[in-house]
Symmetry: C2
Subunit: 216 residues, 2 copies
Amino acid sequence: MPEPVASVVPDPGSTAERILDAAEDLFAERGYSATSLGDVADRVGIRSPSLYNHFRNKEALYTAVMERLLDDFSGPIAELRSGPITHDRVLLWLETIVRKHHANPNLARLLQHAALSGGPGTSELVDRFFRPMFDSEHPIEDEPRPLLGDAGLQPWAVMAFNNLVMSYVTMAPMYRDLLGQDPFSQSALDKQLKLVTTLLQAVFDFRTPGERAGDS
Amino acid sequence: MPEPVASVVPDPGSTAERILDAAEDLFAERGYSATSLGDVADRVGIRSPSLYNHFRNKEALYTAVMERLLDDFSGPIAELRSGPITHDRVLLWLETIVRKHHANPNLARLLQHAALSGGPGTSELVDRFFRPMFDSEHPIEDEPRPLLGDAGLQPWAVMAFNNLVMSYVTMAPMYRDLLGQDPFSQSALDKQLKLVTTLLQAVFDFRTPGERAGDS
DNA sequence: GGGGTATACTAATGGCCATTAGTCTAGCCC
DNA sequence: GGGCTAGACTAATGGCCATTAGTATACCCC
């Protein structure tokens, strides 16, 4: 019996990768327990017992999906933490994650399912994706006074902007109806980018009214 | 055979209401298809076939849960639409929905599940809960120029603030770990209220830098 | 007290689910 | 070519699920 792949990314185009692709979409849409291996197998074009040639069980498939997504999304926050936290670099981080979530909405959807319902490895998910945003010792560097006039609000603000980005994609199916256009089109991305960056600018400017920061 | 209750709110303390309470929590946590009637019945303290004395089937139970939640949450937006859309009244609306979602996080969770996975009556849900926020003909009254410097962004901004409020409660389980405190405590509510109202203030002020609106 | 109704129960059904066992085939190394 | 292995398949398992049928009990109205 071949020991199935654990956390290594399989060859492109291989059956294992096609399974991961199908499973990622389905887990992201329906969550862990509402996704059946039969549906995953159908989408790949094989029978469900064949999945066990590539993954130990449903839970291993799920964690492999998470692993791959986390690898893909761990870049921007690591980048931000690798240097001084300035307004410019926070704006750059925000813009980057908007683009990344827009390009692949599945991580946000998976995280949202995990937040609502739990599922295997949820606490590891929190540790690896969210914790790095919070345990940063250094505050924003070019801040004379605490953000939003209250030091205790900073984690809440981080959370808020992250939520803003992720909830756009998790709510996208509903906004497709409401706004009458594809929420993942280029023009929608442009609008979303403009909105969140303007919002962050507004926050940066708000504490010092009359005195613009002029970061750009 | 008694015709089961459709959309009327049952007596307080009755079995039907206790079923609705249990089902609301479970649907909100796990979504429609991952919730089993057996679990609902267990929580009420009866056997699952007894549920059919009160609701036609799983779908009817689900829509009854939604109905009750929509009734509860339809107040604030109706209030806002009943008069002129001013900065003050938008702030009041925002504060009200923050408090309502904090008091009962289940509507936000249910809506999030519906956005991700669909489920019975999802489009009606969108029509009844979200549509009223968008098809409003009147723009903000005391606005000399369009919000955020771009008229097309207004629906996106409405969506953003709504997401901000709802995603706080749908992500709450994760932030419980991250922030090390109960996200539904009074102090957490205070912080969240301060954050979102300040954010909205920042947006209102941002278009007219140097000239404060002075709404409060 | 008797009939009707509301509402609980047990038993059963057919379907889907995750998982395992065992089989077959196509390629690879000697 | 002969064995080995990867990876597909079918068949079978036990469990849970939504739903129905049929039954029992307790209350209300006369």
